[in-house]
């Protein structure tokens, strides 16, 4: 610890603390441009100069650590005049076009000059201009370099945090321009983090251009509705239209960063396609109806169906809504048939929960990254959960650790890894088994009794490695890292749910490492904002809220569809889930749903599933409701209502309650706050979840709000993880590629398809294969290709990725022009396809 005096005030801080941080913590304000907590210090803007007794020259406080005994002054006349001079220089060439600048009103340069500035400049020379007109850098970015203060934050965030590294500083001195290669159009991640960190109006949002002044916006704290990273953001509206989403420095685990989906994908809220009134099917067509009529029809049909009813609720709803939904089914309709996913098998979910220890309570991704060795498996983190990728990149660059990435597809994060392993698609289980076997080899005595070890202990290493498609050396190297000094962190993604046969491998590795006395932290990596919340609220056929055992096991989505086709299930209530688009085998779903007597779909849009419904209820987006979402780490975070639902649409919680009330007037609780009270009472894990601690601003660098993590459940013995297997179609010469799926960087499920900006970034389907496979087939990046499976064929644009494992074709689940689930056939394995030039 070092004790220093700041403006006469004595403070004791950790050794190596920056003067800037020490001063800010002590309550003194120091202006900065180039400093940002999560970026490496460059000390280039000189706004933060301070005086240190005994040193003649002023020192930049943002890169100078305290030394014991220092006496620092932050507001002497010399410091003040240095600040004024720096600002005078910055204004020497500055465009000063505040009246037409999007940043006006929230510009750091404006604020600083107002506060510290000389209000007159002495530079009489003509100003240097980079360009006459702003130029468009990408579908979401427009640039004006004449306003630049050369802080380099844009370049640094793009390289150090996003890892795209597509911005650079061209030229030098006052002619230095932060921009793209020869100012060309950017083919990048389009996350706009360069916009967010820019203190002035250089990098600007193109969709937001000239739409408003910041002081005319009204905003609310919320959480991004797309993936389960759970980025905190603020959405802002003007005249009832949401026009901006922004992240805030020091708030949420993401601090100032978001990905393209979070920053630009909110505009589905304003879509003219939003459903605004209830619809009831009359003589084969859906026609507008009143709420009373729609609810009446639902009641009659639900009564007729009796217990032969099921429900599927989206993993994007709030915890309160999901809790009430399961309550409606379990205690009001008397049916155990509920699910929150159209994609994952219930046993896979239970196995995954157990393997990742979700029932043991929340675990922070930051803690996981504190581990000495971190293994990322079963997720294409860079595309699926971009901000988790940023966190891993940033932290791994700043400390000595092993980072192992195992994935068939190459990814941006590979450049941060100390070991990259390319295994066969759908072979995560074989890879982990091989690793465990290697660990076992050296620790037979200690691992003899680990549950499940018998499954592999007599296997041959060559066999397992061969099935995984990697070399024995790779496997050994991973095993060595995992069993070396220190703790282990695992990020385990949705591939485990997609290929359930891999789950026992994950569970076994965890158990083996624990048996060796290792501290193991696992973060499940999920792709729907509240998937974890949906499970923890008990929207699952195999367990109740807080993973509690259920009296009667119900049917999951697939079984319900099966039962619908056989006529056994009569009614289905679907909330914001597009089963037709998401469940593997679209034809089967359509057939099954047509076998139902009654289908009610509650959604924001006329989804493929809604088109088949007897009653359609207009629901709400995340901007129109209050509630809690639980991210993949188990952080319960608040979203706040910014707008009323459009026209006659209603909040989902009110609709679910209204359906319950048609049976019993007392069904409730009656509002989200009371539902949360009941959750706190009934669900131990959520006992301490509070509305208070979520929206507070954290001190820079302390983004890990641990209070928000849910507690251990402690009663999950009922989870049934048996019968996990992965079925693959056998490989043939005719169909050489295994079809992998997941989310594209710019999309999430089908919801993002309603965002005009995200559609602007990527509209039509692309299929990705490795560059090597492509050249073997004589195909080039950008070619139009035909993808042919046994049951479906489609056309898409080819995207090649170098360094990926061969034999895998990836088509995201997001495209309406190529619904990937049409390649699947119920009961058969993961399909294989061929790719040929169209």
């Amino acid at each position: 610890m070092s004790t220093v005096k700041i403006n006469g005030k004595e403070v004791t801080v950790k050794d190596g603390t920056l003067i800037l941080d020490a001063a800010r913590d002590a309550g003194f304000e120091i202006p900065t441009f180039c400093y940002q907590a999560d970026l490496m210090g460059v000390g280039s803007c000189r706004m933060c100069l301070v005086e240190i007794e005994g040193q003649k020259k002023l020192q930049p406080s943002c890169i100078t650590p305290v030394l014991h005994g220092m006496s620092i002054h932050t507001e002497t006349p010399t410091v003040m005049s240095a600040r004024a001079s720096m600002l005078e220089f910055l204004l020497a060439n500055h465009a000063l076009d505040c009246p037409v600048c999007d940043k006006g009103g929230e510009c750091e340069l404006q604020d600083m000059v107002y506060k510290y500035g000389p209000h007159k400049g002495r530079h009489a020379e003509p100003k240097f201009k980079f360009q006459e007109k702003d130029y468009v850098l990408s579908p979401v970015i427009i640039k004006n370099s004449n306003r630049c203060v050369q802080c380099m934050k844009c370049v640094r965030v793009c390289g150090e945090v996003v890892g795209a590294n597509v911005l650079g500083a061209l030229g030098r001195g006052d002619h230095q321009e932060e921009t793209s290669f020869l100012r060309s159009f950017l083919d990048c991640d389009q996350d706009g983090n360069c916009i967010e960190v820019c203190p002035v109006g250089c990098f600007m949002r193109l969709p937001y251009r000239y739409k408003t002044r910041p002081w005319d916006l009204k905003g609310k704290d919320t959480v991004c509705p797309y993936c389960a990273t759970g980025c905190r953001m603020v959405i802002e509206e003007r005249d009832g239209i949401v026009i901006r989403a922004k992240a805030q420095l020091g708030v949420g685990l993401n601090s100032e960063t978001l990905c393209a989906r979070g920053r630009f994908g909110f505009d589905f809220i304003n879509s003219p396609e939003r459903l605004t009134k209830p619809l009831v099917k009359r003589f084969g067509t859906l026609e507008p109806a009143s709420w009373e009529e729609a609810l009446g029809v639902i009641k009659d049909n639900f009564i007729a169906a009796g217990k032969n009813i099921g429900g599927i609720a989206s993993a994007r709803l709030t915890d309160e809504e999901l809790y009430l939904f399961q309550k409606l089914f379990r205690s009001m309709l008397g049916s155990p048939n509920i699910d929150s996913s159209a994609r994952w098998a219930p046993e896979a979910v239970e196995g995954f929960i157990k393997a990742t220890g979700m029932d043991e309570g929340g675990a922070s991704a930051f803690d996981c990254m504190e581990s000495d060795t971190v293994l990322i498996t079963g997720t294409h983190l860079s595309d699926e959960n971009p901000v988790t990728d940023y966190i891993v990149r940033r932290i791994s660059a700043g400390r000595a650790m092993n980072l192992v990435i195992a994935s068939p597809r190459a990814m941006k994060l590979d450049s941060s890894a100390s070991q990259i392993v390319r295994h066969n698609a759908a072979a995560e289980g074989h890879l982990l088994d091989a690793v465990t076997l290697s660990v076992y080899g050296g620790n037979v005595d200690k691992l003899r009794d680990v549950p499940g070890i018998n499954r592999i202990k007599d296997a041959r290493q060559d066999d397992l490695a061969g099935k995984a498609g990697c070399s024995a050396d790779d496997i050994k190297a991973i095993a060595r890292k995992l069993t070396g000094e220190g703790s282990v962190g695992l990020f385990a993604g949705t591939e485990f749910l997609r290929y359930p046969g891999s789950i026992p491998g994950l569970a076994l590795l965890k158990n083996a490492l624990k048996a060796l006395g290792k501290k193991v932290t696992i973060i499940p990596v999920l792709d729907r904002a509240n998937q974890r919340g949906a499970w923890e609220m008990g929207v699952h056929p195999g367990f109740g809220p807080g993973y509690s055992p259920v009296k009667e096991r119900g049917m999951g989505c697939a079984d319900m569809l099966e039962a619908a086709s056989s006529g056994e299930l009569q009614a289905l209530y679907v909330v914001q889930s597009d089963i037709v688009a998401m469940h593997p085998d679209e034809n089967f779903v359509r057939g099954a749903l047509s076998g139902l007597k009654f289908l009610v779909v509650q959604d924001c849009f006329m989804s493929e599933t809604a088109r088949l419904a007897n009653v359609v209820l207009p629901a709400s987006s995340f901007a129109e409701k209050d509630g809690i979402l639980t991210n993949q780490e188990g952080r319960a975070q608040i979203i706040r209502k910014l707008l009323p639902p459009p026209v006659k649409a209603k909040r989902d919680i009110d609709i679910i309650r209204a359906v319950g009330e048609t049976f019993d007037r007392s069904f409730g609780p009656k509002n989200p706050v009371l539902v949360l009270d009941e959750i706190r009472k009934e669900v131990g894990m959520y006992g301490e979840v509070s509305l208070a601690f979520n929206n507070k601003r954290n001190v820079d660098n302390k983004l890990d709000l641990k209070e928000a993590l849910v507690k251990p459940a402690g009663l999950a013995e009922g989870l049934n993880a048996s019968g996990l297997e992965t079925k693959l179609e056998p490989k043939t010469d005719e169909h050489p590629f295994l079809l992998a799926t997941g989310n594209h960087l710019f999309h999430s499920g089908r919801l993002s398809r309603k965002s005009p900006t995200l559609i602007g970034l990527l509209k039509n389907a692309i299929v990705e294969i490795s560059a090597e496979d492509a050249s073997a087939l004589g195909l080039m990046n950008g070619d139009k290709v035909r993808i042919k499976g046994r049951y479906y064929e489609a056309y898409a644009t080819l995207h090649t990725r170098s360094g990926s494992k061969g034999g895998v074709a990836f088509i995201a689940e997001n495209y309406d022009d190529v619904p990937v689930n049409r390649f699947f056939r119920r009961g058969e394995g993961v399909p294989r396809v061929s790719i040929t030039k169209a």
Binding site: N165, V166, G168, L170, G171, R172, F181, L182
Partner: protein, 156 residues
């Protein structure tokens, strides 16, 4: 595409560096010479590929130094006159004007026959022999108007 000879030379110079990226300056120099005095988009793209860098990083390295002419073709002889303090005190300003007159172009321009490009640069580290200038790879020092006339005449 670089010539085979240039490619070979690049592989040679890269041996000097523990990390390929560090060779960017040398490789840019070779590329510029190959192109006849300046660099174009394709050169930087190819360098990025060879060194495993981002194109914008190569661009930024090149744009930092006046010695690289990014997308700015120069004449056969690129005259870079120092106008930093020592040279300035010893009359660089007049010499520049003199050359503008002699070549009938302004600073930053190239003669119509594509022979000469005149530019000004910061200190070339030869203050002891100021005023001075560099033409292509050679220094011309202790300049006077007469000396310059002779130099230009020899090159014409």
């Amino acid at each position: 595409m670089f010539s085979d000879k240039a490619k070979e030379e690049i592989q040679q110079v890269l041996k000097k560096y523990p990390n390929r990226r560090s060779g960017v300056m040398d490789v840019l120099r070779i590329a510029q010479r190959e192109r006849g005095g300046h660099l174009v988009k394709e050169d930087m793209e190819e360098i990025a590929r060879i060194l495993g860098m981002q194109t914008v990083e190569v661009n930024a390295s090149a744009a930092f130094y006046t010695m690289y002419n990014v997308e700015k073709p120069v004449g056969k002889y690129h005259i870079q006159v120092c106008r930093n303090i020592s040279c300035l005190l010893l009359g660089a300003e007049n010499l520049i004007k003199h050359m503008e007159r002699e070549l009938n172009i302004r600073v930053g321009e190239t003669t119509p026959d594509k022979k000469f490009t005149l530019s000004t640069v910061e200190c070339l580290g030869s203050c002891g022999t100021a005023p001075m200038m560099q033409i292509n790879d050679d220094y011309y020092e202790n300049l006077t108007a007469e000396k310059i006339d002779k130099i230009l005449k020899d090159l014409k």
